[in-house]
């Protein structure tokens, strides 16, 4: 069937199977590989995108369901060719290691700060709890979200004995 999704502001129309998930539509039909598949079952959050502004697991959404709707992915996170405040903060705070969960984490953080521009540490944890990260231990991610929202970011520095 023909599916048309507005991705990062541009309409993407493709002939695709009616049972294809939004995740696979993005990766295989729209050529946007930034959104990752970690489990395919809605458990890990690696495939998080924004659907009409809400963070969703794109592996649990059928592309046909979002025909005509608006989706934002990690590829739409740059601002006029420059890294967004979130991307800059993630880089600065070393909130990225292997990077496979990163696109999903950034999109969850994006959804969070759009509805809550100054989230507390507890609110950040609530907002990101659906995103697994096996590398970072989350602390530097939380610091990055604090930093991006103009809040004191250091939870605890490395100290020398």
């Amino acid at each position: 069937m023909k599916i048309g999704v507005v991705i990062n502001g541009a309409l993407c129309e493709r002939e695709a199977p009616e049972n294809i998930t939004l995740l696979h539509f993005l990766r295989e039909y729209a050529g946007l590989i930034g959104t990752k598949e970690g489990c395919g079952g809605g458990e890990c959050g690696a495939c998080t995108v924004l659907l009409d502004g809400r963070a969703v697991n794109s592996c649990l959404v059928l592309a046909a369901e979002v025909d005509g709707k608006s989706v934002r992915t990690i590829e739409g996170e740059m601002r006029d060719g420059e890294p967004s405040e979130l991307q800059q903060a993630f880089a600065k705070r070393h909130a990225v290691q292997c990077g496979f969960c990163t696109p999903g984490v950034v999109m969850s953080a994006r959804a969070l700060i759009e509805r809550n521009p100054k989230p507390s540490v507890e609110e950040i944890k609530e907002g990101l709890e659906g995103n697994f990260c096996r590398c970072t231990g989350y602390v530097q991610i939380i610091e990055a979200v604090l930093e991006a929202t103009g809040q004191p970011a250091s939870m605890q520095e490395l100290s020398h004995a």
């Binding site: 395919g40 890990c44 740059m78 070393h94 709890e129 697994f132 939870m155 605890q156 490395l158 004995a161």
Partner: protein, 808 residues
């Protein structure tokens, strides 16, 4: 490598520059094998066994073969190859006998993933179900059915391993120091107990995935999400008897490894499918469920420790027996057994020691390397045991540990003499004890207890680990200068997330005395292009590859200076350089830029000297030896990284539910190259260690079916599981042969989190935990059946008020 490490003058080391890989990872541009689609590529699926142990009576692939779009089907009998890192015991697809739940029995390559799925469903397998051997202790019993009846005929690495044909023992590692029986005779107290933990899954966020194309002339290209390109290539060629220059292995970004992507996994299967499909590239990516059972896990362990101690707290003898559950294949489990065998006593000096470490085959998914390489598992038992011994003799556990810690002049289990340059475990331990206010509750903590009715406890645990690697482990680096004076370093070590790309760029920039933006280290690895590096494992990369990189930079500068000396008509000894140029020290206005030298220096008339500037550095671990098989004596350790954790826990004495209020961790890293990267390793490893401590582990039914191969049933920590407070402390005792004094800390943060937690819970509630993970119900059970400390005492001093248990 330490001669240039004057902290005052360091410009790149000990800072926190932004990682060099983040721009791509934060925009979705970073390429992983999961993302790759090659022209003409086929998709593979695997038919997996639903049984833990069975004979394959018959496989019928005829219906699958007739499905349009199916290009290749393979079963075990099509493939006459066996794989194995150390013991060559595994077929690419099971032949005749199934040895674990989820094992691959057949594979299909098809035009689409959907067709491949359908084809696998059409394959019919007739099994004769056999009773599986599931418990590794049962597998040791005389007369137990054999998982590998043909063990005697398998090839294995004789220098390091000792399989026991006719049993389920894939390896037995022995270590003997002093006279353990004499030590026990001298001991005033003897305390013995057994500690256990289950198998655990690594959970890289990118599951295992490989693409291979078997081209004409038996030339094979492989793209894989693996840790070690050269190991994949070399083992692949060994299996298929191909020259090493026929096979090229490429590794782009890797979505996490944690040891699970060391060695070789899916590559031979996809390569065979490609060959069968006439040379079209074939891709296979494991589902999350397959990641749990088709691919390997961490081995379960039963650890028995018997300690003889004097009344003043000195340990005089210790007998340690480790029983590692390898699962169906030996893979890395035999080497985990070897490495933990020689580390088994932890950072303590034991004058009389005896270690027997067994790797035991069972009918379960097989064990492999996992961050910490066995140390997470055995330190659970060891550091719970040290706590128990201290309690038994009525000594404070921290004081007891201090008394027995390795000090300069101490001799390890294998006969290595520790020096002050090895690092300072006592400083690590004291730092974390101090950070949690060990030994007493603060007034605020007491008030909190009174307010909440919950119990607060504090515990500590130490850790150590050396890289587990062959004594001849080697690495090499090539540093190339471009015609604008910028530099690219080709490094065979893979950045699987640990940040090595950035740390190496800092080391190169420091050694070259260049600005960091002039240096780039390759992210994608390619065995045709990059110089040899043994493996990306063991926390040895920073030290070994870092050293090779420093030597390569020195070599490049040497060559630049030689050409510059000619061009400037000066002696090399009169030259110096900055980030742009080489100049004469006493006439600095006379200079030549690196850009002018980079591809050979050209005179005004066009004639040239020199040539492109390329530096080569090679480094091999030095002074190491194989271990004597009878005594375990020898020098296995490139370096030791020491550390410790301290935990404050709050426990509900009614339910056993608990919450971690604070964790403080300290490691002697020698020299931190990138502070935020070190912190990322410390916190990331600690949280992975918390997963092991709190909740993770494989659960099987009586028939050996894995019951929890998903994130719903096998939880891993989320950001809501973080302790309230996290302290990361580094100690910097320079490693004399490390780059700028650095040593590795990739695996260590995961080790000993669980026993620190167990000790803190014991201190809060008296619950004696001997099995991890520590779930709330385990705490509840332990609180409600508190055996007295005497339960584990088998010898007491004359006149002691403690009595031996009646049943001993």
């Amino acid at each position: 490598m330490l001669e240039t490490a004057n902290s005052e003058t360091l410009r790149q080391i000990g800072r926190s520059p932004v990682r060099h890989d983040v721009a791509d990872k934060l925009t979705g541009a970073a390429l992983y094998v999961s993302d790759m689609i090659l022209p003409g590529m086929l998709y593979a699926q695997v038919k997996k066994s639903p049984h833990a142990r069975a004979k394959i009576r018959r496989i019928d692939v005829s219906r699958a073969k007739r499905l349009p779009g199916v290009r290749a089907i393979l079963t075990g009998h099509d493939l006459d190859y066996r794989l194995g890192l150390y013991v060559v015991d595994k077929d690419i697809l099971a032949k005749n006998e199934i040895r674990h739940f989820g094992e691959a029995v057949a594979a299909v390559a098809a035009d689409t993933l959907a067709i491949a799925h359908e084809a696998v469903e059409l394959i019919e397998v007739d099994y004769e179900i056999l009773t599986p051997i599931l418990n590794h202790m049962d597998a040791l019993a005389p007369g137990a059915p054999l998982v590998h009846p043909d063990l005697a005929s398998y090839d294995f690495v004789e220098a390091a391993f000792s399989p026991q044909p006719g049993t389920n023992i894939a390896n037995l590692t022995k270590c003997r120091k002093g006279d353990v029986e004499k030590g026990f005779a001298e001991a005033e107290w003897i305390v013995e107990r057994e500690y256990t933990n289950p198998s655990v899954q690594h959970v890289p966020m990118e599951t295992h995935v490989a693409i291979a194309q078997w081209k004409s002339g038996d030339r094979v290209d492989i793209w894989t999400s693996a840790q070690s390109p050269f190991t994949v290539r070399d083992l692949f060629c060994h299996t298929f008897k191909l020259p090493l220059n026929n096979v090229r292995v490429v590794i782009p970004n890797v979505g996490g490894g944690f040891g699970g992507k060391a060695g070789i996994h899916l590559e031979p299967l996809v390569a065979c499918l490609s060959r069968k499909a006439g040379g079209r590239p074939v891709k296979f990516q494991a589902t999350r469920e397959e990641e749990f059972s088709l691919l390997p896990c961490r081995s379960a362990l039963t650890y028995r420790i018997k300690t003889g101690v004097l009344a003043d707290g000195r340990i005089v003898a210790q007998k340690m027996e480790m029983f590692w559950d390898a699962g169906a294949y030996a893979d890395y489990a035999v080497n985990v057994t070897r490495a933990t065998g020689y580390s088994a006593a932890g950072p303590y000096e034991i004058p009389n020691a005896w270690v027997d470490a067994y790797t035991v085959y069972t009918n379960k998914p097989y064990g492999t390397a996992y961050r910490g390489f066995g140390h997470v598992e055995f330190f659970w038992g060891l550091e719970r045991h040290m706590e128990l011994v201290a309690q038994t003799i009525g000594m404070d556990p921290l004081e007891f540990r201090r008394k027995n810690l390795l000090k300069p002049g101490a001799i390890t289990l294998t006969g290595e003499v520790i020096t002050e340059h090895n690092g300072d475990v006592r400083k690590c331990l004291d730092s974390v004890a101090n950070a949690i206010g060990y030994g007493a509750l603060t007034p605020a903590e007491k008030a909190r207890e009174a307010r909440t009715g919950l119990k607060i406890g504090k515990g500590v645990a130490t850790l150590h680990k050396a890289p587990a690697m062959p004594p001849f482990t080697a690495t090499s680096v090539v540093v190339k200068m471009n015609s604008d004076g910028t530099v690219i370093a080709n490094v065979g070590l893979t950045d699987i997330g640990q940040g090595s790309t950035t740390a190496f760029a800092q080391i190169a920039a420091e050694r070259l005395r260049f600005p960091l933006n002039k240096v780039r280290v390759t992210i994608e690895k390619d065995t045709d292009r990059d110089p040899y590096d043994w493996q990306t494992v063991a926390s040895k990369g920073l030290m070994l590859t870092g050293n090779a990189l420093m030597l390569a930079c020195a070599d490049l500068l040497d060559k630049a200076y030689q050409t510059a000396a000619q061009a400037l008509r000066a002696d090399v000894c009169d030259l110096d350089h900055d980030g742009d140029k080489i100049f004469i020290v006493h006439r600095p206005e006379i200079s030549v830029t690196f850009a002018q030298l980079s591809i050979g220096y050209s005179y005004p008339d066009g004639g040239a000297i020199g040539g492109p500037l390329i530096g080569v550095g090679r480094y091999t671990a030095q002074g190491l030896t194989n271990l004597d098989k009878g005594s375990g004596q020898g020098l296995p350790a490139l370096d030791w990284t020491y550390g410790a954790h301290g935990i404050i826990v709050e426990v509900d004495p009614t339910t056993g539910a608990y919450h971690i209020l604070k964790i403080a961790s300290a490691y002697d890293v020698g020299k931190a190259i990138n502070l935020e990267s070190v912190r990322g390793q410390c916190i990331g490893g600690m949280v992975q260690g918390l997963g092991t401590a709190l909740c993770e582990g494989y659960i099987y039914d009586q028939q050996g079916h894995l019951l929890n191969p998903s994130f719903t049933d096998n939880k891993i920590p989320t950001c809501k599981d973080l302790p309230d407070e996290i302290d990361c402390i580094i100690v910097e005792t320079p490693q004399l042969d490390g780059p700028y004094g650095a040593r590795g800390v990739g695996e260590h943060p995961m080790i000993s989190v669980a026993p620190a937690l167990g000790n803190a819970i014991r201190s809060a509630t008296g619950a004696e935990l001997t099995h991890m993970p520590i779930r709330s119900e385990d705490v509840w059970r332990a609180m409600n059946s508190k055996p007295p400390v005497e339960t584990w005492i088998t010898k007491t001093p004359v006149g002691s008020c403690r009595s031996l248990p009646v049943d001993r």
